[in-house]
Symmetry: C2
Subunit: 236 residues, 2 copies
């Protein structure tokens, strides 16, 4: 937790916030902060700055908050990700959020196990929990938006053109002829398949929307590894 992220309901007035629970425990037990200490704080979907602890007991703390800095730039990537296994999704959400992706579409694919769509992790509050861990890690404040798209064909046919409008469009496909370019810093929509990859029909559907298949070479990577490797091509 490199940033204490404050929510609207943490504020008792415009300048003061009260914390209990997970963040309070982190400040007390990991940061070992005491009264008078300045912490790096941010407001969810707002600015960051410093929080000065004005009081603290065994249950909660109160801080005076000064917010005057912008969050780091977002990554110019809209991510279409075939829904991964829940345990892996948690880690991927954290890493994607820490890397600055702000729009995530979790999409279906032939190789996505149907049971994954029934996971309680897909409740918005549970998804947000993992996105917030990524923001706290990266000192970001802007919560990514996740859209669930449990039907591949209608998503591609009815929504994708609108989503991808005005962006470069790539689909990661291990057998693609073209290598993934380096040092991309233009708005991009990037599709990443499930373990085992998109099936040819799905790649063709994406290609018909203008998506260019790109690969990371001969090596087949786990989705969990491929995601940060691909996003690295967009980071500063």
């Amino acid at each position: 937790m490199n940033l204490i992220l404050l929510h609207d309901n943490d504020f008792i007035d415009q300048k003061r916030a009260q914390l209990r629970g997970r963040r309070f425990e982190h400040i007390q037990n990991i940061q070992r902060a005491t009264s008078g200490d300045e912490l790096r704080v941010g407001k969810l979907n707002g600015l960051h700055g410093t929080g000065t602890i004005v009081s603290l007991d065994s249950q909660e703390l109160e801080m005076e908050v000064q917010l005057d800095q912008s969050p780091p730039d977002p990554l110019p990537v809209t991510l279409l990700l075939a829904l991964p296994r829940p345990k892996m999704l948690k880690r991927i959400l954290q890493s994607v959020s820490s890397l600055g992706v702000k729009k995530i579409y979790l999409i279906n694919s032939y190789r996505v196990d149907k049971s994954f769509w029934g996971s309680p992790l897909l409740q918005p509050e549970n998804l947000n929990e993992h996105l917030i861990l990524g923001l706290e890690q990266a000192r970001d404040t802007v919560l990514p938006e996740i859209t669930l798209c449990p039907r591949f064909k209608p998503f591609v046919e009815d929504e994708l053109t609108k989503i991808a409008k005005g962006t470069a469009t790539y689909v990661a496909h291990p057998v693609a002829a073209a290598p993934c370019p380096h040092n991309l810093n233009k708005p991009t929509t990037l599709a990443i398949g499930p373990e085992g990859g998109f099936i040819p029909y799905e790649v063709e559907k994406l290609q018909s929307c203008g998506f260019i298949p790109i690969s990371l070479g001969e090596r087949i990577l786990r989705v969990e590894t491929a995601v940060p490797v691909l996003l690295s091509r967009f980071t500063p």
Copy 2:
């Protein structure tokens, strides 16, 4: 498991191998292969090719092996990694191995918890288990070498110059002025610190050996995310 990796003692003669246990179960239950099927196989530290199943029962299978292809190119990176927490180390070893790193030095740092050095995971057979999962994933056969360096100062003063000789040298350091270059494809020695980063003394010691501090921008990433993001700058 995108490649069945065969060890010397799987071979009953030059062309035939017998499998039981984990790989046998994967072939039977996941790949659902039967007699006559061709599988992608490789020999540890050797070539790959195909294995044709000649017999199979509920306990084991026998295959005829034809090895005639080279493994994918290694990544030109020697990795110095501050020893991560064991649970994270397992995943990092898999991802680093799948990305093609062949030389890994697990080094000490002020922020490495001393207890990590006592983990049973650091036994060579346990480390190799996770490296092999990475090779099977990426269809590689060449086992990376890991060296444990539990003392930072003697490692940097007595060994590092020899290890890094003739390579570009970088240390990932979140507060560094220079961004990590893109599209590096030259032999490089890359040092990555623990969660929280190397302390200034350690960065200075590395700088005195010619290491250039580089950063990935304002965002602080978990080591698990930073490793594939950094290695992506070297992948095709």
